[in-house]
């Protein structure tokens, strides 16, 4: 996972000028904060607070997926979101990734059944997650159209 990244660290005590400059640029308020930036330097994902190794790796994978989504590379985004669910099924990142995998497929295909299938998937796992609640609205989507979730 880490081979996808170049990595830089700013220490608040030892690099006060970098801390001020980049902290202001990205609105950082707390340590540790780790940002995932795309190649243009645009923030695509943020990790605030300590995480154990597996959860940290899951967040990195989630960040790459969000980056692909934000750049409208929806096929790659779906693949990466599903990879998070498969590789880190017990992480907090997994239900978020399952949700966005469905959104990415919908954005790629304009087929609302992708959202319904995602809602059905949440009936099988992560039922108590906030993402399952968000996906629950999709259970009726095929009958009534996508409403507020229309393509943007």
């Amino acid at each position: 996972m880490t081979e996808h990244f170049l990595a830089a660290r700013i220490n608040v005590r030892e690099q006060p000028e970098d801390w001020r400059r980049f902290g202001e640029r990205y609105g950082v308020q707390w340590t540790p904060t780790i940002l995932i930036l795309d190649p243009s330097g645009t923030e695509r994902h943020r990790i605030e607070g300590f995480l154990p190794a597996d959860d940290f790796l899951a967040q990195l994978a989630l960040g790459l997926a969000h980056s692909a989504f934000a750049r409208q590379q929806f096929g790659e985004a779906e693949r990466r979101f599903r990879e998070v669910v498969e590789r880190f099924p017990d992480s907090d990142a997994a239900p978020e990734a399952l949700y966005w995998a469905g959104v990415a497929r919908y954005k790629a295909t304009n087929d609302a059944s992708a959202l319904e299938q995602t809602a059905q998937a949440f009936a099988q796992r992560y039922q108590d997650s906030a993402w399952a609640k968000k996906a629950s609205v999709w259970r009726k989507q095929q009958a009534s159209g996508v409403g507020d979730h229309a393509r943007v």
Binding site: V12, P32, I34, P39, F56
Partner: protein
Amino acid sequence: MAIAWRRDVDAVLSEAKAQGRHVLLDFSAAPM
């Protein structure tokens, strides 16, 4: 999990742009 953290942030950002790679930017208070 070995991450090669660097301190030259501007250089990392420039290299990432040239190489089309993502960047991890860590704001830390831990001793380096």
